[in-house]
Symmetry: C2
Subunit: 384 residues, 2 copies
């Protein structure tokens, strides 16, 4: 059937009609007074969403561009940083550091496991000369669905006093609690096609006063990604370079929807969907990659048992039910599939996905479950 696609990938996520219709409005001038009003309103709403009084800057980039900006604006060549790497995105921030000659010390965990906050404590405590300039971590690792313990790692960074904490919140912001001011997070990057419920094309970076201090002496080259320029123009409700006007209009629409739902409800909904999905996967006797105590509320990675091919499951559920789930990346390709329950996703969508999954694995000859067992487990969680 045409035009009946249902996205359950970790981005792009489904987009509400109000945001789609805002996208379709003829653009207005990005230097107009009317657009400045939109920028002022959107910026205020972004600060609400980020739970911060810090600057939250809007860039016309993907999440990677936002994170690169969040790294290169606050560091200099040769700076020592700790980078957590337990998946494709952690790995990517190591590569960004390397591209700019930043001395990245990698703290690894296996894909599917959480970073160990102790590893950070040890390195940070040993650094009595305060040489470590920043700790870069991925909160919700999109490639595995693992949630790293941001609060615990952040406590160790705070104890160090000198280092900045730079957080990839691409699949956590607007879905899970990323309490920027409460935790004192210095730099937080995210992208529009995730919790924000709009298409890809905008990136966001929240920046603390401590990070702005570091900016003054940071010497890595940048121009388009220069956050100082963005900050200067944001003070005038503008952007240094032409922003994606229609996307900002869509963002305004989606942030209005989010404000009506409220942060607490948004976070509770994502947790409920995580728990319902995980309960269902267990009831179907399929494996889960991330452990219960480190599971992202945005993405659930499923490990099918021997003989049940992850890519075949994805192909079947796409063909039979027009539901798109994500595959595994890099060495997990073919070994897992990932269910995105991020952004504009309701309880109904979880039941839909689980029931369609039951039908699909059954069609593939998998019989190690009772029809309806997944749906039953999900209902029990959803009904509370």
């Amino acid at each position: 059937m045409e035009d009946k696609l249902m996205l359950m990938i970790p981005g792009p996520t489904p987009v509400p009609e109000q945001a789609l219709l805002a996208l379709a409005k003829a653009p207005i001038g990005h230097r107009s007074g009317d657009f400045s009003k939109v920028m002022a309103d959107v910026t205020a709403k972004l600060k609400w969403l980020h739970q911060t009084t810090n600057d939250v800057l809007i860039l016309t980039v993907s999440g990677t561009g936002a994170m690169e900006a969040g790294i290169i604006n606050f560091l200099s060549k040769g700076d020592r940083v700790l980078v957590g790497d337990n998946g494709k995105f952690g790995e990517r921030w190591v590569e960004v550091c390397q591209a700019y000659g930043v001395n990245a010390e990698v703290i690894k965990a296996e894909w599917g496991k959480a970073l160990d906050p102790e590893d950070f404590r040890v390195k940070l405590e040993a650094d009595t000369n305060k040489e470590i300039k920043a700790v870069i971590i991925t909160h919700s690792e999109t490639s595995t669905g693992v949630l790293n313990d941001l609060a615990a790692i952040n406590r160790h960074v705070k104890a160090h006093e000198k280092a900045l904490i730079i957080v990839d919140a691409v699949t956590s912001l607007g879905a899970m609690n990323v309490a920027i001011d409460e935790l004192g997070l210095d730099v937080v990057g995210s992208g529009s096609q995730k919790g924000y419920m709009i298409p890809p094309g905008l990136g966001f970076v929240a920046v603390s006063p401590k990070a702005w201090e570091a900016y003054k002496t940071a010497n890595l080259p940048r121009f388009y990604l220069d956050l100082g320029k963005a900050r200067k123009d944001a003070a005038k409700n503008s952007t240094p370079f032409t922003t994606s006007v229609n996307m900002v209009m869509a963002l305004q629409a989606s942030l209005e929807i989010m404000q009506r739902e409220g942060l607490e409800n948004i976070f509770a909904r994502h947790l409920r969907h995580r728990d319902a999905t995980r309960a269902a996967i267990k009831a179907l006797n399929l494996g889960l990659l991330a452990p219960d105590d480190a599971a992202s509320a945005s993405i659930t990675s499923v490990v099918p048992p021997e003989g049940l091919d992850a890519e075949k499951i994805r192909a079947t559920i796409k063909k039979k039910f027009d539901i798109v789930m994500a595959g595994g990346q890099d060495h997990l390709n073919g070994k897992i599939f990932r269910i995105g329950h991020l952004g504009f996703v309701g309880d109904r969508d979880i039941l839909t996905a689980i029931s369609a999954l039951e039908a699909s694995i059954s069609a593939l000859g998998y019989s190690n479950f009772t029809y309806g067992a997944g749906v039953k487990a999900a209902i029990e969680v959803l009904n509370g």
Copy 2:
């Protein structure tokens, strides 16, 4: 009146309904087979529009991001380059070079005048050691409406043999003839909200084999803007980082419209609109900033006579007729206004703009013209 805005600025430009409706479609996955097909189709159409068999890469950035990528991927720290500067954008590419430690030798002309190709010839001929790595020029200078003589400057670059030519074609591509293969242009940057007839949010860079050779040894740091990564994924009809899916869909729609019109007709239409607008401005006894022999077909900068305030004209035509024209930038602020006739603009729009301009200057007490003189002059050009 609400929702009756008419944009006659040099970007964002008006967007056809088909492109707006494509923007409003629910996004599909950027890693899906369906999206790869769109990327393949769009890339083929972009090559058509660029008149090239070179790579044409799509980035999620504004025009500035595209140009920065076009500069930093092919140069190394300390490299000597010549940069033409006769307006805000020429100035910006000097700043990009400086931000990265590239040794930019600036070839200036006054704002409103064209760069002198002779200045380039002299420098290039004197460079017998072939130290000059690139010549960076802005084709259509958006801040003034001046069209630099790309063909003449390019001839001198070609005679040098070693230097790359890097062209800001942001307000010329898709409006004026930028014959990449015929001229042998190495790097050409542009942005979506101009001749492409879609909102801001995508940037494009065309790259020649000679530029790819330079890429191999170029050592400026980059990650998100790394064109080598973009090229690698473009070969698989994909992008290294999540692209702005909905904008690519809109681009596909607008490129289809452009192909139906045909390149010759598009170029002829822009020239006709330039000539009609300039004839009208002359008939109204208003001044023109750019000379006849160096006038962009995308933007006409008007210099009102003493006593007639450019900003008041803009405010009046906006208030009375909901037409947005652009002001002057930097030291030209308040001294000129700029009429954009770029992208999705028909003959009707030119008559509308000129007649509304007549009414507005008349309302401001300007009487040094006969009612209808501007429209008459425009009609004479449009009717050919």
